[in-house]
Symmetry: C2
Subunit: 349 residues, 2 copies
């Protein structure tokens, strides 16, 4: 029987460590460490030997040990209000994608739109601890800042640009969304533009502001009777759109263009209009919001405002990376992402 005092103890298949490579090559583990971290004070020859052996043994550094020593865990947290909404899903997806080529991993979780859960998730993630946190919050920003920005973990807020924040952030230009939609309809010749607006949230209010701005810019007067507010309606978006269309069909002044708060609302609206004999887009043009794949390619391809969720995710990830590189700098930077119009048949005149 052979006794090898250097033999690894512990779990059955322990992975290869720096020391294994070192003894293999008659070097100290220090040298290995240096090579692996790209220090320059190593001869080209030893460097090559080390790299060779590292590849052979498929050595992976033990990140726990690395973290314990350096304080960095090579992980980034992402918390979104909901993973079932395409918008946030797309953001999360793009953060993950953007970080795939780096050595960072992503802790993803959802606050389920509950401030309480959000708080829980934040402290859960900070306790881990993560190196940076990307957060699309559902809380008042002031409360939030105290809670999260107090620590030393860089925070990147993803928000609607509602508040001026003292934190790094990626803003979505909500107002521009409404402006873009309305001005598109103006450009194709609409004179009586309706708006099926969203719930009474900061974000929906901003979009509505943008809508009014666009009308003003075009010298059109704002018609309150063409604003459909489905507040309190607990239906599904499609049904809300359908109900909105019914209301508009009964209206004295018939709209020749409709801005809808979501794509599904738009589809519901269109379906109902079409059933009532209205020609879309000839009589009435319809534009949605979200540019969701499933919804925009139904019976009548829907023009929609793309919220640029993918860009938001990418920017957030890049911002996180930047903050982690130049960790010394405590400079706060914020990025703004603009929505874009995707024209389709529902407004093709």
């Amino acid at each position: 029987m052979r006794f090898d005092l250097n033999e690894r103890q512990g779990s059955p298949v322990m992975s290869v460590r720096m020391k294994d490579i070192a003894t293999d090559l008659n070097l100290s583990k220090m040298t290995i460490s240096k090579v692996l971290r790209g220090q320059t004070d190593v001869s080209a020859k030893t460097k090559a030997r080390v790299l060779q052996r590292v590849k052979e043994l498929n050595y992976k550094p033990n990140i726990s040990a690395q973290s314990l020593r350096t304080g960095r865990t090579l992980s980034i947290g992402v918390i979104v209000p909901s993973l079932s909404e395409p918008f946030f899903m797309e953001i999360a997806r793009n953060v993950v994608q953007q970080l795939r080529s780096t050595s960072y991993s992503v802790f993803l979780s959802s606050s389920e739109r509950e401030p309480e859960i959000e708080r829980l998730e934040i402290s859960h993630q900070l306790a881990w601890p993560i190196d940076a946190l990307i957060l699309a919050s559902v809380q008042s920003s002031t409360e939030l800042q105290e809670f999260a920005a107090s620590g030393q973990t860089p925070l990147i807020l993803v928000d609607s640009g509602t508040a001026v924040l003292k934190s790094n952030s990626v803003h979505l230009r909500e107002q521009e969304i409404g402006r873009l939609a309305a001005s598109h309809l103006v450009h194709i010749g609409c004179r009586r533009i309706a708006n099926v607006r969203g719930p009474r949230t900061a974000s929906a209010d901003l979009r509505f502001d943008g809508f009014r701005t666009a009308l003003a810019e075009a010298g059109q007067r704002f018609r309150p009777d063409l604003v459909i507010d489905l507040e309190g309606a607990d239906d599904h978006d499609y049904q809300r759109g359908a109900r909105a269309a019914e209301r508009l069909l009964r209206n004295k002044v018939k709209p020749d263009g409709i801005v809808c708060h979501t794509d599904l609302v738009a589809v519901g609206t269109m379906d109902t209009l079409i059933c009532a004999g209205v020609q879309v887009p000839r009589d009435t043009a319809v534009i949605g919001c979200g540019n969701t794949v499933q919804t925009c390619h139904m019976r009548l391809p829907l023009t929609s405002i793309d919220l640029s969720a993918s860009k938001v995710g990418q920017r957030a990830a890049k911002l996180a990376l930047t903050l982690l590189e130049q960790e010394g700098t405590r400079r706060v930077s914020s990025v703004t992402v603009s929505p874009t119009l995707v024209g389709r048949q529902s407004t093709a005149r």
Copy 2:
């Protein structure tokens, strides 16, 4: 100037450690550790004191250190083929949710349906290392097993029950999906049931098998002319449904029930039928698959097969937890999840 040799060095706001609590309370950090891990050999009084101070200082254990010592990282990896598909999204969401109450965190990533990316993500996550991996793979299972199950990290496969695997797994009963849909139509009196089938994948083939089984069970003959195979059609699901309906409308034998491979296909089918003057569900009943919220509540509420993605996610998470508890046991366990029927207007006769 005050010199305190015990003052913490390093990053500006270092968090509180076990030692801090120990010195505060004139105890050794060992005792703190014991209390925190629920060891019984500590007096009730000291235990209370420790817990008190832990709360006061909001002490969080340093997980890197813990991991280095114990080999467990308190993190679980989840890799799905796609985060934009509701089915996988729902699985991921439920894993995260299920694990929220535990001390585990979730590394979520997507393989984007690319075996290469999947491999990358697996090794990325294993390198971290995670304590367990929940994987909905896009690869051949044999290749996979060698790759991932070889290590010591427990693997939980989420799959279609295609292969008999030597790994822990959560299966979806694909066949049952087709069977359930068809037999529902049989039960409401359909005699000429069409099938708008999915692509030529293992999963879609199984569903189709189930469909045929149900017909056989009901003593109905299988009609190849009522099977619409849209292989190669690169359209969107809605358009595929619409095209399928057109084909069926031109068919000699008109179906009185249609099983569709997805909800969106079903909606496309329905819309087209309705436009052609067919009464749904009276003349033709339609059933979809996926029970996706957005799609099932359009003009005509759609009966659909719920794939139980939430249950799949929950079970996978629970299985992972179980494996991590009784880590000694290398027993392989697998769970099967059944789909359920959700009846709505499109088959209400």
